[in-house]
């Protein structure tokens, strides 16, 4: 059974990546934080008695399911939002969202050194490209390469076959490479 200390260490290690994973999926800070909070609580409440080594795969599965639940819940809400936007004919929210997404989390801060700026722009380009990936491709890519799960663990977390994971990862990588090349970024 994971001790509170082990659970604390695990969550501290994974929380930032979890937040960004959720953010890539929902493009909204508050919603991303809510998703991570839900996932953390579900893990602690329902799987707090599991051994520490089982926590990463369990948490990733919970996180992905919580993101899917968010999509389902917001589906109807988005429909109404789209309808109201169409009727209102006001500002283009999609464009505004794109601008928000391109802005760095603390872009309002004072100027930074050039290398930091270049790094920030590359990161923005990566995040932007990740955000535009199909959900399953992004999910597979982040689990496999960012969370460091192997193909079998990724397949388990996503509830699909290992072959599908490989396909999603390959397509995601190709799309990312093309997007970064197009924007003149090199890694």
């Amino acid at each position: 059974m994971a001790t509170p200390r082990e659970l604390d260490a695990f969550l501290a290690d994974v929380e930032r990546r979890a937040y960004k994973t959720a953010w890539f999926a929902v493009h909204n800070e508050e919603n991303a934080l809510d998703i991570v909070q839900d996932a953390m609580l579900k893990l602690a409440e329902n799987y707090g008695d599991r051994p520490a080594e089982e926590l990463p795969a369990l948490f990733q599965r919970i996180l992905q399911n919580t993101i899917r639940d968010f999509y389902r819940r917001s589906k109807v809400r988005n429909l109404w939002t789209t309808l109201f936007s169409a009727l209102g004919g006001g500002e283009d929210e999609d464009d505004q969202e794109k601008i928000d997404r391109l802005r760095s989390p603390d872009a309002d801060q004072a100027e930074r050194p050039e290398d930091a700026l270049a790094q920030r722009r590359t990161l923005e380009a990566i995040e932007d490209a990740l955000a535009t990936l199909p959900a399953r491709q992004r999910e597979a890519f982040l689990l496999r390469y960012w969370e460091g799960l192997d193909t079998a663990e990724t397949a388990e977390a996503m509830g699909c076959s290992q072959g599908s994971v490989k396909t999603h990862c390959s397509r995601a990588t190709q799309t990312l490479a093309a997007a970064l090349k197009e924007k003149g970024h090199q890694l």
Binding site: P4, L7, D8, L11, A12, E15, R16, R17, Y19, K20, E29, L33, V36, Q37, M40, L41, L43, A44, E45, G48, D49, S104, P105, D106, Q119, R120, T122, L123, I126, E127, L130, F141, R144, Y145, W146, C169, S170, T173, Q174, L176, A177, L187
Partner: protein, 145 residues
């Protein structure tokens, strides 16, 4: 067999993926403080829920204890209860011993009957012979010299 160019593509993909992961890791270092503060707060909350889960186990244990207590009296767990438990166990033990003694006596009775039968000069089959039973009931002839 994998073609060398495919292998090369895979290596390139792998390198790119790792570079992206590294860049994302660096990006994690510059999250706004409000986000990191909220994440820390959420972690604390999750941990307290794990503690609550553990407490729930303890509570469940206590409720079971109380439920058992209600069966045997409200002061379950006290010295009086232990005496009550000991008395109940003693009664159970005595009842068991009595039943065992009865069973043993029955076995011994049957054994003594068997041995009496076997030690008789009369063969045991004679006792289940109807003719012999009739002969016994009509009257035993007097033994004369």
């Amino acid at each position: 067999m994998t073609h060398p160019s495919q292998q090369h593509d895979r290596t390139q993909d792998d390198l790119l993926a790792k570079a992206v992961a590294r860049a994302l890791d660096q990006g994690n270092e510059i999250l706004p403080s409000r986000v990191t503060a909220r994440l820390a707060q959420m972690r604390e909350q999750a941990l307290s829920h794990q503690k609550q889960w553990q407490s729930a186990l303890q509570l469940a244990g206590q409720s079971t204890h109380r439920a058992v207590g209600s069966l045997f009296g409200d002061s379950f767990g006290s010295a009086t209860d232990w005496r009550r438990w000991a008395a109940s166990a003693g009664i159970l033990l005595l009842t068991g011993a009595f039943m065992f003694w009865q069973a043993q006596t029955q076995i011994e009775d049957l054994a003594s009957e068997d041995s009496a039968l076997l030690s008789e000069a009369l063969p045991p089959n004679a006792l289940i012979d109807k003719g012999f039973q009739t002969w016994l009931s009509t009257g035993t002839p007097t033994v004369t010299d």
